[in-house]
């Protein structure tokens, strides 16, 4: 356990050490004062604007910003949908894969355009290289950039006074991709390649087995080893909190995540931009303490939750213990614990932490089978998402949701000290509360109603492999993952069915746009307001007291809604001590 604690803390230290300068750098990307990248690449940036006919100097109000965002995302989704349907007739398809079925194509397009990256398919047997690169890869960048520009616009709303404009969507998107995502993922892809991740357009390799064997009555003599442009996908998959793996096994596949070092770096990459954006917020607001306060709230949840997850999984499975099987902490057992579904080159500690990182951020990547976690470790994954993807959360979108919850905390806190609530000098009035409510409201509704719909319909129940409360957890997990735009899969649920493709696809779309459009409206309203100077009568929003208040709101407004559902899933499972992961062999 002490090794898990050490890993957890060293990861966070590395992330903060990298996130801090990155946040400053990004202030130069979005601020009025151009940083060195913007100065160096100014001609290129201007060239892009000229080519696309963008008037970079014209800023948009929140409605203009929202419309541009919606149109751009819609175009991306339609393009991806069409590409997937037609991939059989398109080049760069060495495996000769056919077109994707419409239901799955809709689900996948919704998934990648919303930064969810829920995958109801296996990448290596479904997607051509063209679809991977031009379709999924491009959306990996654009959906991440969309998340980032949402929070940049929101920060501008808080920071600006008596203005209507939140910035120019096209300019923000261009700069995000050009100055942030491309450089970072290029560097990270090169590191991954150095560690052994393939980057090639060669078709799959047919390798002859040294020791052929009989499977049933067929002799297995060779193995297909899938290849492809993996490293470039892998880099943006983690950095952009996408999480859609090139391979079905995601980061458990040795070609996506070959070494302990890449495992550590991939976790760091998932946390990097969400952390840097928090610091960017502090920088743009001219008050770094605000950033530290928000980071403190995130850590206040993340550290205990990730350690709880590690604790229960490292403790091992009681049913195995009863049979006298050792799960102790030894090097031979890769650190011991509940090794079901765990890659032994990572061990249990690095797997639960990966799970916590992938669900706290909206990445949803996996380096093990989450389905086989001990129930309370699985609950941590679920809970991380049910906190509304605010604990780090998706790139941009996570901080945006967190700021909406901060608005609630400020509202309650403001009333408790007898003032009309204000955040960073901006009054929080009924319009702000309305928009924040509209945004926060939708996720629990989608998760709860979606799960309810699935359990009462035969189509919903048909996908469940596991009996007992675990089967319920699987459905709950799927809807939680989709509505929160996480994309993490619990497994154990056959989600490639018309029912799940459509319902989860809708959850992803509604969960994305219904959550963030009201926040843009909120930003637009805040931008128009004057700033109220602070005094000793103002609620300070950087103190430990306020951090506690925000944490309380995140818990009460965000997570309290899921207590009944959780008690019928993982909680019941853990209390029953049903070793459900033993009942089905993966």
């Amino acid at each position: 356990m002490s090794a898990a604690v050490l890993l957890d803390l060293s990861l966070l230290i590395v992330v903060i050490a990298l996130g801090w300068p990155l946040g400053r750098y990004m202030a130069g990307v979005y601020g009025t004062e151009p940083g060195f990248a913007r100065r160096a690449l100014a001609p290129l940036e201007r060239g892009i604007y000229r080519l696309c006919g963008i008037h970079a100097a014209t800023e948009m109000d929140w409605k203009g910003y929202a419309v541009a965002l919606l149109l751009f995302n819609l175009a991306g989704a339609v393009f991806l949908y069409a590409l997937l349907l037609m991939q059989g007739h398109l080049p760069l398809n060495p495996q000769g894969l056919g077109g994707v079925r419409p239901g799955l194509a809709f689900n996948t397009a919704s998934s990648f355009v919303t930064n969810t990256n829920w995958q109801a398919y296996a990448g290596e047997t479904t997607m051509s290289y063209l679809s991977q690169m031009l379709g999924l890869g491009v959306q990996n960048f654009l959906s991440a950039a969309t998340g980032i520009v949402i929070v940049v616009a929101m920060i501008r709303g808080i920071v600006r006074t008596q203005r209507r404009e939140l910035g120019n969507f096209w300019v923000d998107m261009t700069r995000t991709v050009l100055y942030v995502l491309l450089p970072l993922s290029t560097v990270f892809a090169v590191i991954l390649m150095a560690q052994g991740v393939p980057q090639t357009l060669e078709p799959s390799v047919h390798a002859h087995l040294i020791a052929p064997f009989l499977s049933g009555k067929t002799a297995v003599t060779h193995q297909v080893i899938a290849l492809g442009p993996v490293a470039s996908q892998e880099a943006i998959k983690e950095l952009g909190n996408n999480g859609g793996g090139f391979f079905n096994a995601n980061s458990a596949h040795p070609f996506e995540n070959p070494t302990a070092l890449t495992n550590f770096l991939e976790m760091a990459a998932m946390l990097l931009l969400p952390t840097a954006l928090v610091f960017l917020f502090g920088r743009m607001a001219g008050d770094d303490r605000q950033a530290w306060a928000i980071l403190a709230v995130m850590l206040l949840f993340f550290i205990p939750l990730s350690l709880v997850s590690a604790h229960f999984d490292l403790a091992g499975n009681g049913a195995l213990r009863a049979l006298g099987i050792s799960q102790t902490h030894t090097r031979a057992l890769a650190g011991g614990g509940n090794m079901v579904g765990v890659e032994d080159r990572f061990g249990v500690g690095a797997s639960t932490l990966f799970g916590a990182v992938a669900t706290a951020t909206s990445t949803g990547a996996a380096n093990c089978a989450y389905d086989s976690f001990m129930p309370l470790s699985g609950l941590v994954n679920l809970f991380d998402m049910q906190l509304g993807e605010t604990i780090f959360g998706g790139v941009g979108s996570g901080l945006a949701t967190m700021l909406a919850l901060v608005v609630f905390a400020v509202f309650l806190g403001g009333l408790m000290i007898g003032r009309t609530p204000e955040y960073l000098g901006k009054k929080i009035e009924s319009f702000e509360i309305k928009m924040a409510s509209l945004s926060i409201l939708v996720m629990p509704l989608l998760v709860l109603i979606g799960t309810g719909l699935a359990v009462v319909t035969a189509a919903g129940r048909a996908a469940v492999f596991n009996p007992g409360p675990h089967g319920f957890s699987e459905i709950l997990y799927a809807f939680t993952s989709a509505a929160n735009n996480n994309g993490s899969a619990f497994g154990g649920l056959n989600a490639d069915s018309p029912f799940y493709n459509v319902t989860l696809g809708l959850c992803m779309l509604i969960g994305r746009y219904w959550t963030y459009l009201p926040l843009l409206a909120l930003a637009g309203s805040l931008a128009r307001k004057p700033r109220i100077p602070a005094s000793s009568g103002t609620l300070a929003t950087h103190t430990p007291l306020f951090i506690g208040l925000v944490a309380g709101v995140v818990l009460l407004v965000g997570a309290l809604n899921f207590v009944p559902a959780l008690s019928l899933g993982p909680v019941a499972e853990q209390l029953m001590r049903l070793p459900s992961s033993l009942m089905v062999v993966h």
Partner: protein
């Protein structure tokens, strides 16, 4: 209006409570319940469970019907408690509105065509008067409408509005021209120009304010209402989806137990939605307005009360608010060769017949310092009164001419009488003036005895009040017509943060605008017509009841006691209103944690017996657990009614310490209290 002044007696409370009880039963009609979305959910749930109870009765399921019936009864009680709190608060308002309405009676008015004492009049009903009409009123008349005196001087009884029975003077010029409809003229006569349309007089607006207190929502109330509706909506879905989840668990997951009952789900729903704050929210708002009324302040809108809580700059007139309003003798400074007692004695003699506040204060100071000085004026004494030409006053007595007056006037007088003007005296005069005080020189014949120092006396305790305000983050700015030197001295003594000296009305207005540009919220007091533009600009504008009609119209609050210091009290009431709402919301939401621990294991223990591990309160049985949670949820409302009506305790403290205190009491307290309460009720249920 004496209701306002005195707190309700026990008997009145009993009557209020009885009326409220009857009224709250009437409030159980759907058309009233629909206005409060949170409580409407409870209402719908109560009917639903009622129907289930009837079904259980018909089906003769005795044990089940007893449980369903008990839950239903407590749901109805929850609704009753909620309506009761609102009725109780409204009852106080109704009593005040009724007493105000007594003052508003239709009277015959003498309408005249021109403002002359002997102009002919025609008799018209008061309700037909239009703005601009001239009316003549005489001793004994009730003033028919709001207006401005244009001619005459009269004494008025304004107790119908202000509760103050001492007569006040109104006259046709100056700043005391405003007359209010419903007040009575005691002596003499006035010609009034009507300023209000019928139905829109000050009295009408007061009545409307009291009556509409429950209907009009303030901005923060609206915002909070949205939050509560959203929470309710989410919890509605949380409980509704539990039915399919439970159904799945029973039929597919584990094949054990029964699907959770509708009664249990309704109970869970009612416990989870913020009923505590939902029930008390209307009462809190009304009670805030009533507290203001009890302080004898009438606000024209609830918005103004909330704004009072947000104010961070107070613009205060020096005179009347910070100082007592007149200069008083504070010190005697003897000239070389004389003693302080001599100066005091002569200053007293010179002032014995001086009826001005300054004169009286000199007599009082001598009496205090030298009680032995009791010499009376002889019968031959001749009083010399102050004139603008001589600028001195005094007395000729016992062959001496005793004078006091402004230094330059006195120097001229001494020069005329061949006396010498001591250089040291000049230094003393300078020193006194530099302190912002007024020096008066005392002479006997041609000899200057010394200097009387007249000072603006800063009100007792005002310095501490300003220090409190500073801790609350509120800046105080003193406005005075004095020169900067004087202003600075008084500002330092009173402890205000800033001052505006030699202030003209335009300057007030421009300062308020400047504060607004910096994002501040400004409160000010005023009474004169020239204050009106600034009053209209300020966020919270308190006008004295003695103020002119223009000032009253521009202000959004009127202080019936005409006590400018009351602005401080108004700020406190405004803050208290918001704090009560915020604290009870926090309490209400924090309560949910314990309710989960009571109801979730109880509802699902049949399906998953292992969930009994969550029964950390060790409640006796599932049904008792659910009942205990519902009962706690209901009884917490009447327990909190006094808090809702009185408001949470306020202190002058920084935001930080206020927040810490309220989070501890209402946040952590709200988390812990229901655990204790539900366990206690469960024990009671077992015992019964």
């Amino acid at each position: 209006m004496s209701v306002m002044k005195s707190h309700a007696t026990n008997g009145e409370w009993n009557r209020l409570a009885r009326d409220a009880l009857i009224d709250s039963l009437k409030k159980l009609m759907p058309q009233h319940q629909i206005r409060n979305p949170v409580m409407f959910v409870v209402y719908a749930g109560a009917w639903l469970v009622w129907a289930l109870w009837i079904r259980d009765l018909v089906d003769m399921r005795t044990a089940m019907s007893a449980f369903t019936g008990t839950v239903d009864a407590w749901l109805w009680l929850t609704l009753l408690f909620a309506s009761f709190s609102e009725s109780l608060a409204e009852g106080q308002g109704k009593a005040q509105a009724a007493s105000l309405r007594q003052a508003r009676q239709t009277v015959q008015a003498r309408r005249v065509q021109e403002a002359r004492a002997d102009a002919p009049y025609e008799s018209v009903p008061g309700t037909q008067l239009r703005p601009g009409d001239l009316v003549r009123v005489e001793a004994g008349d009730i003033i028919p409408s709001d207006g401005e005196a244009v001619l005459g001087v009269a004494s008025m009884d304004e107790s119908a509005i202000t509760g103050e029975s001492a007569p006040v003077i109104r006259e046709g010029s100056g700043d005391r021209t405003a007359v209010t409809g419903g007040t009575r003229i005691l002596s003499d006569w006035l010609v009034i120009r009507v300023t209000s349309a019928p139905g829109d007089t000050f009295l009408d607006r007061m009545i409307r304010m009291v009556e509409e207190a429950s209907r009009r929502k303030t901005p923060n109330e609206i915002a909070l209402g949205i939050l509560l509706v959203v929470l309710t909506l989410v919890f509605l879905v949380v409980t509704m989806t539990l039915y399919p989840y439970s159904w799945y668990a029973v039929h597919y997951a584990i094949h054990k137990g029964h699907v959770v009952g509708i009664t249990v789900l309704v109970a869970l729903l009612v416990c989870l939605i913020p009923t505590t704050i939902g029930a008390l929210l209307p009462a809190i708002g009304i009670a805030g307005i009533m507290r203001l009324m009890r302080a004898n302040v009438v606000a024209t809108s609830g918005r103004a009360i909330e704004a009072a809580g947000d104010v961070d700059v107070l613009l205060l007139d020096k005179t009347g608010t910070i100082t007592y309003g007149n200069r008083q003798a504070a010190e005697y400074h003897p000239a070389p060769g004389t003693t302080q007692e001599q100066v005091a004695a002569m200053a007293r003699l010179a002032s014995l017949a001086d009826e001005t506040p300054e004169g009286r204060s000199i007599v009082a100071l001598t009496q205090k310092r030298f009680p032995g000085q009791t010499q009376a004026l002889g019968a031959d004494a001749a009083l010399i009164t102050f004139t603008a030409q001589t600028r001195m006053s005094g007395v000729d007595a016992g062959g001496h001419r005793i004078r006091k007056g402004a230094p330059d006037a006195m120097r001229a007088w001494i020069g005329q009488h061949g006396g010498a003007w001591p250089q040291e005296l000049e230094i003393t005069i300078q020193r006194v003036a530099s302190r912002g005080a007024t020096p008066l020189v005392v002479c006997v014949d041609a000899a200057a005895l010394g200097v009387i120092e007249l000072k603006d006396i800063v009100k007792k305790g005002i310095r501490e009040r300003f220090a409190e305000l500073r801790r609350m983050g509120i800046r105080t700015v003193m406005v005075t017509g004095d020169n900067p030197l004087t202003a600075q001295a008084i500002a330092a003594e009173a402890g205000v943060d800033d001052f505006i000296a030699e202030a003209k009305p335009e300057e007030k207005l421009s300062r308020i605008r400047a504060f607004h540009d910096e994002g501040h919220m400004v409160a000010m007091t005023g009474d004169g017509t020239n204050d009106a533009p600034a009053l209209a600009q300020a966020d919270v504008a308190l006008c004295m009841a003695t103020g002119t009609q223009a000032a009253r119209e521009a202000a959004n609050m009127v202080d019936l006691d005409s006590n400018p210091t009351k602005i401080l009290e108004i700020v406190r009431i405004g803050k208290q209103l918001l704090m009560t709402r915020g604290s009870l919301t926090t309490f209400s939401v924090a309560n949910d944690v314990a309710k989960y621990f009571a109801i979730i294991p109880a509802a699902f223990v049949g399906t998953y017996p292992a969930l009994s591990a969550l029964n950390i309160m060790d409640l006796s049985s599932p049904r008792h657990a659910i009942l205990a949670a519902v009962i706690f949820n209901a009884v917490v409302i009447p327990f909190l009614i006094p808090l809702a009506l009185k408001g949470v305790r306020t202190r002058a403290a920084s935001a930080k310490s206020l927040l810490r205190r309220n989070i501890w009491i209402y946040g952590i307290g709200g988390l812990v209290t229901p655990f204790i309460g539900i366990k206690f009720i469960d024990l009671l249920l077992v015992w019964l």
